[in-house]
Amino acid sequence: MTATIALLGQPNSGKSTVFNALTGLRQHVGNWPGKTVEKKEGTFLHDGKEYAVADLPGSYSLTANSDEEEITREFISSGKADVVCILADSSQLERSLFMMADYAGINVPSFLVLNMADVAEDQGKKIDAKALEDKLGIPVIQLSATENKKYDMFFEAMNRAIENKSLINISGLKTELEKIEGFTKLEELIPDGSIENYSALWLSAKAIENDRLVIDKLKNTLAPDVIKEVDGIRGAGGGAVSTGNSKFAWIDELLAGVLQKKDDQVKLGKLDRMYLSPVWGKPAVILTILFGLIGSFIPALPFMGLGQAIGGLKAPIAEALFSAGVSEILITVICNVVLQSFSYILQMLGFVFGVVLVFGLLEEVGVMARISYVFDNSMAKLGLQGKSVMPFLISFGCTMGGAAGTRVIDNWGQKVLTIALAWAVPCGAAWSVIPMLASLFFGPGAVLVIIAILLTMVLHMWITAKIFGRKLVKTGERYGMIMELPPYHKPKWGALFRYVLGRTKDTFFRVSKVVLLVCFLFWALSYSFVPGTDPILFKIGKVIEPVTKVFGMGWQLFMAFIASSVGKEGALGVISALFNDGSFYSAFSDAMSGAGVAADLNEVLLSNVTKPEALAFIFAITFNMPCVVALAATYQETASAKWTAKIAAYYTVGALVLSTIVYHIGLLIW
């Protein structure tokens, strides 16, 4: 590796765009060790040399307020980066240079990229990058990150920064900061290098800002009487507001003679007058998401067709293998584990592809920020961002799509919490089963059942938000929205498609593992290894029937419940087979591949299942784990096996608790 480059910049400055343009498909998304923050790393080749690049988590400053900021700081100060690429938005230079001002004083080489050059030009702004470079002492370039051909200047600036180990000239900032009472004294008390890689100026400013990490570290390095003096000056320093003032004053000074612009006027465009309207905002957002959902199916269709075709190959392949004399065990493994898994996975990938494309587009264009604005108040009650409303709505169609849609949520904890809550939303498959079962048993009362399910969903989400929210979104970190509403951007199709394809490929590998594993386990538990005997799952079901009776489920219903956590559509098929004394295994396998339900299902159900049992069963399968693909998508998005397992276990137990409650209420009624 020749060098490691870290991308630093405020949200919407174009970090991810640059990251994607540099790395293409050579990227990896994971989690920072021990932290709940997404880690994006990749590599690229330039002039035959390999470089590593890290997309640092988004934040507006470098003060240690959140995991995101701490990780960024740690990454930079530990020397993991050879050079830091600081990004700013040319169309809003005054504000977006703040990150650069906050970085100034860190002794790690850097260069500055003034991104969105095209937007600034459209606004009639002229920026003299060379003049800024002379003032700052580090390479400064203008860039339109979305135009792939224009990266020559980027590489040139990067190499110059690495070679010259260029550091920001902080004398102007120093003058401004020293206007703060006691700042000069502070710089003497905390000399350069008190903490490695940081200058006295940077540490003094952070001390005034009450930066927790800096203060803790200083306590370990400085003498107690020095600390006392430092604390005295800090207390009177005016906090981040006064250092912020100095930084903006410095930025204004830097931009004098560098930036020429016309007076800008704000007017809300048509689209914003609708999205931001107190009356029409919510309907407009909901409609946008619903159209997005429908739009997601269009690119998904070819994949889905292919997936179903693979499912359809099962029978002919099984037959061919059988006549070739292959053993039955092997045939079922090939057909019912491998082919079945890939049939699921492909159909799912199609949908992931569609959702990521359509909602990635909405994000890219700037609509997602408006969604955040409109639903900020409602979602804040659950500890979430306004954007979380989107995955919830998608989940009425498909939970896996909802999970994929959480990609636009930039805070990991809120992302996991959103997925955990989205599982409680009954998906399309559930909606195809519930009304049928409900009207069979309760006639017109089915409407009441559906209302009860919707109310339970709301309650479930509320309780789940309480339980999971405490860990995932700590109350101390629940700050209200302070966010930029970026101007609308034209979508950049090339970059978007490459990103979406990359994500789909990534999803494919990760998800395949999970789906294959679960399908294999299910197969092993439900296969009769000794002909004529019951499979393990079958035996266990019968043995624990006294327990499952408490939940309101005899063993047949309980087996169907288990099957519903792999796929909801399968539950009915399993029921009809089991009450007909059919083989559980073939019932499961057929049902999951979409085979029709026995014609006499209605009579079978009515003669074997009581009303309270039926009601309990409806609730149990509705609020159970949605399906194996949703499980896999959750793992893919959270990048955490631990949280995926937690959510799955929580929903399994939760469904049984609900079913018990509903069953006993049912017993009181009937």
């Binding site: 405020q10 507006y60 400053s61 003060t63 307020n65 169309s91 809003q92 230079l93 005054e94 504000r95 703040f98 990150m99 906050d102 800002e209 009450n210 930066d211 906090g239 981040a240 507001v241 250092t243 912020g244 003032n245 903006f248 800008d264 704000v266 809300l268 931001l276 107190p278 905002g281 920020a369 955040s372 604005y373 409109v374 900020d376 108040n377 804040a380 700050y479 209200g480 929205m481 302070i482 966010m483 930029e484 509403l485 970026p486 101007p487």
Partner: protein, 74 residues
């Protein structure tokens, strides 16, 4: 008065920012500092307050706005 009471379409100047260290650093880093002028774009009940400053449209949660004192310019 607090920013959350400011009228839409008016121009205000920030006179004081108060709150814990974290709030201070968040609000400063998005570009709102004492002395800077804000144009209030929208101020609707149950929605964040929308202001325009330093070339940027910014949405601010109503509760957070209580820490931002402003004086009316126009």
């Amino acid at each position: 008065m607090s920013l959350s009471e400011a009228k839409a379409n008016g121009e205000v100047r920030v006179s004081r920012i108060s709150g814990d260290a974290r709030f201070q650093s968040r609000i400063t880093s998005i570009g709102i500092t004492p002395g800077c002028a804000l144009r209030v774009i929208r101020n609707d009940r149950n929605r964040p307050v929308l202001v325009y400053s330093r070339n940027t449209m910014i949405a601010l949660n109503r509760k957070e706005c209580s820490g931002i004192e402003v004086e009316v310019l126009s």
